[in-house]
């Protein structure tokens, strides 16, 4: 639980205190950021136990490297970058022989179904989940950093080790793939 003193500190002060070894400050950072990291890893790994383990590993590594982070506003993207590395290592350990799925080029989406229908459909959540699962892990990671966690494109580029243009391209393609799945579901349901 956050103490009043910890809450009152600015993000920069909080980071400096954590970097100086203040355990309470690091706990506050964990409380703030772990839900997003856990959700991100859950979406990538699609395995609750592995996502829990990955979240813990991310924060242990983050603590060890905390002094390398200078800009508090980059904390979330920095943590996601660590989480992505943890995810890739877990993925390699689990399926060294299985190639990672490659992304196809999305088709142009028919404009017939309406996005409002997608929101109203009870099955849309399942369709979305399936569509996310079909994206390659890297494309899914970039898309979710943007749509689910609201990271800026530049921060996503830093976390993924990509150019800004590649981030934009990948997110655009991921969106089209999602929309393709949702649209075809809605057309079938109509």
């Amino acid at each position: 639980m956050e103490s009043a003193a910890a809450r009152s500190g600015s993000d920069r002060e909080l980071l400096l205190r954590a970097q100086a070894g203040n355990a309470e400050a690091f706990r506050v950072i964990f409380d703030r950021e772990a839900p997003g990291v856990r959700r991100f890893l859950g979406d990538l790994l699609r395995d609750d136990a592995a996502a829990d383990e990955g979240t813990q590993e991310t924060f242990v590594r983050a603590h060890l490297r905390l002094t390398t982070l200078e800009q508090p506003e980059k904390l979330q993207g920095w943590l996601f970058g660590i989480a992505r590395m943890v995810f890739l290592e877990q993925l390699r350990r689990k399926s060294r022989d299985a190639p990672m799925p490659e992304d196809g080029e999305p088709m142009r989406v028919d404009s017939a179904p309406t996005p409002e229908a997608a929101l109203l459909s009870g099955e849309a959540d399942k369709v979305l989940d399936g569509a996310l699962a079909d994206l390659s892990a890297e494309r899914r990671a970039a898309l979710l950093m943007r749509l689910d966690h609201g990271l800026a494109y530049g921060d996503i580029a830093a976390a993924m080790g990509w150019t800004l243009q590649k981030v934009k391209n990948e997110i655009h393609r991921a969106r089209l793939q999602l929309r393709e799945r949702l649209a075809s579901y809605l057309e079938g349901a109509a």
């Binding site: 970097q19 070894g21 409002e116 969106r175």
Partner: protein, 220 residues
């Protein structure tokens, strides 16, 4: 405005942060309105998924942070330890011992307690620099430098076998960490608290090097 707004501009509208000019265009453009509706629907669909519970995860993090070295998994215990790890253990253990001596010399209660986050945490309110403390800091820093040198040499030897793109990324990360470490060391002078943070920086850098080598060891 001339032409349709970019995807980023439409996205900005969905986040409520856009120039009125763009918004006015979208209001009068069926194509852009539809695109915006999709963006908002996607965001709403993704964000309405259940939230993640994490409170139960802290205990495991705190436990690991209290341990100077992480225990080996059963799988790791079965594998022969690589030669770089043996050398690192020597360097890191020496550095850790020096740091422990330093802490005891300066302040017996200094150091974080991760298992009791709500308790009063000892601040690093050292009385001031003295020759004993600075000498201990010098020794600890020297040990960390040695551990870093060993691992840097191992990394340099292994680098040619790595994927070139990955190697470049590691190079950048390590160079950045080195630059930051150098900068913090340059300004620390004889300020004991700043010197302690430099030690933390060294520890982080050594860990980063070790993580690089472990990642490559695990995924040759």
């Amino acid at each position: 405005m001339s032409g349709h707004p970019s995807l980023e501009e439409l996205e900005a509208i969905s986040l409520g942060e856009t120039p009125a000019e763009v918004e006015a265009h979208v209001a009068g453009c069926a194509e852009c309105s539809r695109e915006l509706a999709w963006l908002e629907a996607e965001r709403a669909l993704i964000s309405r998924r259940p939230k993640s519970e994490v409170a139960h995860l802290w205990a495991g993090v705190a436990k690991r942070l209290e341990q100077p070295e992480q225990p080996l998994s059963a799988d790791q215990r079965k594998r022969p330890r690589p030669h770089w790890a043996r050398r690192l253990v020597v360097g890191a253990a020496t550095a850790a011992s020096a740091a422990a001596v330093l802490l005891l010399t300066m302040h017996p209660k200094a150091g974080p307690n991760f298992s009791t986050p709500d308790a009063s945490v000892a601040e690093t309110d050292f009385d001031g620099p003295d020759s004993k403390a600075l000498a201990a800091l010098d020794r600890a820093e020297g040990d960390y430098r040695h551990a870093a040198t060993v691992l840097e040499a191992e990394y340099a030897a292994a680098r040619n076998t790595l994927d070139p793109k990955l190697a470049r990324q590691w190079d950048e990360s390590l160079a950045k960490a080195r630059a930051e470490l150098g900068a913090s060391r340059a300004v620390a002078a004889e300020d004991v608290n700043a010197r302690m943070r430099v030690l933390d920086g060294y520890a982080g850098y050594v860990r980063l090097l070790r993580n690089v080598m472990e990642a490559e060891e695990a995924n040759p």
